[in-house]
């Protein structure tokens, strides 16, 4: 049961981080379908930092630099979306889809090239290993493995809530996603606010990516991307009605379903049911389909999301 709790929390942390990122982008008026790709690039940045930094620098340096590297990688990658969607007014869905394909393919190629060069040709895998470094992220409390990423997610939640509802920045950001002409008419720079929204989603998406690939394993094969977790996070965001607190609730529910896939063999009741493991692995995706089918009709997305803002059209 502790294992179930632990996995639920860590998967919820991933979904929470990424879904909050999505919410920031969408509240600014930009749909970020590219979260999946941002996660991959964030994971790549973090994994490289973990595996390349000399382990003798100690835990603190490694933890901090991994977090910073993944956030920075996500931020830089999200610039793609910002430039295309805000400066060039490109279709946001297509841009995001392109980012997703580019991220997985690009990081696979890059990691394979690095591995091939480092091994002199004997290792052509797309995997980065970080079994020793990963220990620095984990503290054991009895059977419960606490990960620093859990704390990162909780901090992100608190900060996101305060920024969104209690600050000038949040008020302006949300205005840009609902009615950019209104924001513009009172002197708010819509382009800047949208850049901010997208870049924040890049940071949170990158953090979500590194959190995800370090959930259970000691290495990650980049050809797998992040197996749809970016999209799952979008479902969490919609189910959470673009509101940080509700997103947190949704993330826990989805995290629980995902955790069942990992630990169902350890729970006697579920073990006796004799349902194949693949069914449990499918659960979060099936649930997200159902949830979206039944809730999307009355969902209240930011009204201006997905529409490029053009100062000329008033």
């Amino acid at each position: 049961m502790i294992l179930l709790l632990q996995y639920t929390i860590i998967f919820a942390a991933v979904l929470l981080l990424v879904a909050l990122g999505g919410a920031f982008a969408e509240h600014s008026g930009v749909i970020n379908i590219g979260l999946e790709g941002i996660m991959v690039i964030g994971a790549l940045g973090g994994a490289l930092a973990m595996s390349k930094i000399n382990i003798e620098y100690g835990g603190f340096v490694i933890v901090v630099s991994t977090i910073v590297a993944s956030a920075a990688a996500g931020l830089i990658f999200s610039l793609f979306l910002a430039v295309a969607a805000i400066n060039f007014k490109a279709d946001q869905t297509i841009t995001g889809t392109a980012m997703n394909m580019l991220a997985t393919a690009g990081s696979t190629v890059a990691v394979k090239a690095m591995n091939t060069a480092a091994s002199g040709g004997s290792d052509v895998s797309s995997a980065i290993r970080y079994i020793n470094q990963k220990q620095f992220f984990i503290h054991r409390f009895g059977d419960f493995e606490f990960s620093w990423f859990m704390l990162v997610a909780v901090i992100a939640l608190v900060v996101a809530y305060i920024v969104m509802y209690k600050t000038r920045f949040g008020l302006r950001l949300r205005a840009c996603g609902e009615h950019p002409q209104a924001a513009d008419s009172v002197g708010i720079n819509v382009y800047k606010m949208r850049y901010a929204g997208v870049l924040i989603s890049g940071v949170l998406g990158g953090l979500g990516g590194i959190t995800f690939i370090t959930t259970g394993v000691s290495e990650w094969k980049f050809e797998n991307g992040v197996v749809g977790f970016g999209f799952l996070a979008l479902a969490v965001m919609i189910f959470g009605a673009w509101d940080p607190l509700r997103i947190a609730g949704a993330a826990v529910i989805f995290g629980l379903f995902r955790a069942l896939g990992n630990v169902h063999t350890g729970i006697p009741l579920l073990e006796h049911l004799g349902i194949p493991g693949a069914v449990y692995n499918m659960l979060p995706y099936i649930v997200s389909l159902l949830v979206l089918a039944f809730t999307s009709k009355r969902s209240r997305a930011p009204k201006a999301e997905g529409i490029p803002y053009d100062k000329g059209l008033r």
Partner: protein
């Protein structure tokens, strides 16, 4: 220059490619006055205000404030100088509270954290001082249009703007709300604010403005003292010739019932709530029946139900004794129903089709326009289109092959009217047929509608413009929240009485 003027715009010229939108225009706004800016659509009023608000940079001319020259490069400059604007389409975030909308952009804060309490006190004080009665915590989407407009006014007051621009502020209001707005505007000037009031409604200028400047086709025509002028004088300045305000028509001679609506209910798209609730009425041949009401009280859905654009939930639509409730749209069109739609870009025209293709949209399948193999008979189409273009005086750049998109609004509307009337319908449904058109086009369209009536056709007119309702109709039905709450005779009723019905303050039990 005297410092008597709050704002002087001197010799402003603004050119766009191929057109001079403002040609050497001078506008002087005195302290504490209400100055109306009058002109038809496309006369250059909006361009001039955009120059003042920093949205456009003029090629020539300068702007003085209290006698000193100022530069206004963007709306922030305008705000800093105390110039505020209530836009025609409100700039309000619907899911924000009134308070949030008011402080947006000038939020009181400590280190970026919002300090709403002091803002709320200021808003409540301002609201009381000017009698605006606005609840700062209400959500914009929950309050009436009039209340939203007062939120916009509060936005300007909160920023301590002294020069207030109102862009066509009365278009969305009931007569009672308009009176209230006029009252508020007078209060504002008493507190030393100066107001620029953009409009094309002469009654409102006569009622509230001190001075009026008139623009026509980008040119400055003149400025007059409202107390010393008449409506006729103003309209002559605006249009450049004498205008008939009265639509000439004889007594209606209604004959047989053409349209009979029985207990009709229609739901709007995606909602289960009834937008039209148990509505019954009849329209006879030879009369114009007008549905009056404030926008969004079910008129749109009623017309969609009659024309087949939305499914009918309950009740029946009978045309010429035939039940057409479930009939396909094509069959209604062929069977004598014509529809001049509210949204001419969405339902009236295919914007990227040529004029001639738009003119045959409802009859392309007739043998004279298409041969047995499905190929279009372009020559016949061209001839037919040219006939209509000549007959209805539809003007366009390249004649029959002009893309609809590149035509002016008035000519687009004329094209739709040509198509719909040429079908020789038994029933003509016209929804806001003169919206956004200039006086010349309005006169023409009104005369066409009356001509249909005089040819013993039934006409159902839906309009939000009370002047149009009073001028054209033989009977008025008032719609409020999806129901018909009153039937009035335009000869005996007044605009004020109509307004009470439209606002839901009055209703009568009626039988059909």
């Amino acid at each position: 220059m005297s410092a008597n003027y709050a704002i002087e715009m001197l010799n402003i010229t603004k050119r766009f490619p191929g057109i001079i939108a403002n040609d050497n225009i001078t506008l002087r706004l005195k302290h504490g006055e209400i100055h109306a800016l009058l002109g038809e659509n496309g006369a250059g009023k909006s361009t001039l205000m955009s120059v003042l608000f920093g949205l456009y940079k003029p090629e020539e001319g300068k702007i003085l404030m209290d006698g000193k020259e100022v530069r206004i490069d963007d709306p922030n400059d305008a705000n800093r100088l105390g110039i505020g604007m209530v836009h025609q389409h409100f700039k309000l975030v619907e899911c924000f509270s009134v308070l949030d909308n008011i402080i947006l952009g000038v939020e009181p804060n400590k280190m970026g954290f919002l300090q709403k309490e002091q803002a709320r006190e200021k808003v409540v004080a301002l609201s009381e001082k000017y009698g605006l009665h606005v609840d700062p915590d209400a959500m914009i989407e929950d309050i009436t249009v009039g209340m939203q407009q007062r939120t916009e006014i509060l936005k300007m007051l909160y920023r301590e703007n002294n020069i207030l621009i109102f862009d066509e502020p009365t278009a969305v209001l009931t007569p009672q709300e308009i009176d209230e707005l006029m009252h508020i505007m007078r209060n504002l000037t008493q507190e030393g604010k100066s107001i620029l009031f953009i409009t094309h409604k002469l009654n409102e200028i006569m009622a509230v403005a001190d001075t009026c400047s008139v623009l026509r086709k980008g040119k400055y025509i003149g400025t007059v003292d409202v107390a010393g002028t008449t409506k006729e004088e103003l309209s002559r300045m605006m249009v450049g010739r004498d205008v008939d305000f009265i639509v000439h028509k004889d007594e209606a001679k209604p004959t047989d019932v053409v349209l009979s609506v029985e207990k009709l209910s229609v739901s709007s798209k995606g909602h289960s709530k009834k937008a039209v609730n148990n509505v019954s009425f009849k329209v006879r041949a030879g009369e114009i029946v007008c549905i009056a009401g404030i926008d969004g009280n079910g008129q749109t859905e009623l017309v969609y139900g009659l024309t087949g654009l939305l499914p009918v939930k309950d009740g029946a639509v009978i045309m010429d004794g035939k039940d057409i409730t479930q009939l396909a749209i094509r069959k209604r069109n062929v069977g004598g129903l014509s529809h001049i739609p509210e949204d001419r870009h969405k339902y009236g025209l295919v914007m990227d089709y040529s004029l001639e293709d738009n003119l045959i949209l409802q009859r392309y399948f007739e043998p004279r326009f298409v041969n047995n193999f499905g190929f279009m008979r372009r020559k016949n189409i061209r001839n037919y289109a040219n006939d209509l273009i000549e007959q209805y005086d539809v003007r366009s750049g390249q004649g029959a092959v002009t893309p609809a998109r590149s035509m002016s609004g008035g000519n687009q509307q004329k094209a739709i009217i040509a198509r719909e009337i040429d079908k020789d319908p038994q029933l003509l449904i016209a929804v806001q047929p003169t919206r956004g058109l200039d006086v010349g086009a309005i006169e023409y369209i009104h005369s066409q509608i009356v001509a249909q009536r005089d040819k013993n056709k039934a006409v159902l007119l839906v309009s939000l413009e009370l002047d149009e309702v009073m001028a054209l109709s033989d009977r008025i039905l008032v719609m409020y929240e999806g129901e018909i709450v009153g039937e009035l005779d335009p000869k005996t009723t007044t605009v004020e009485e109509l307004g009470l019905y439209m606002a839901g303050a009055k209703r009568e039990a009626r039988e059909v």
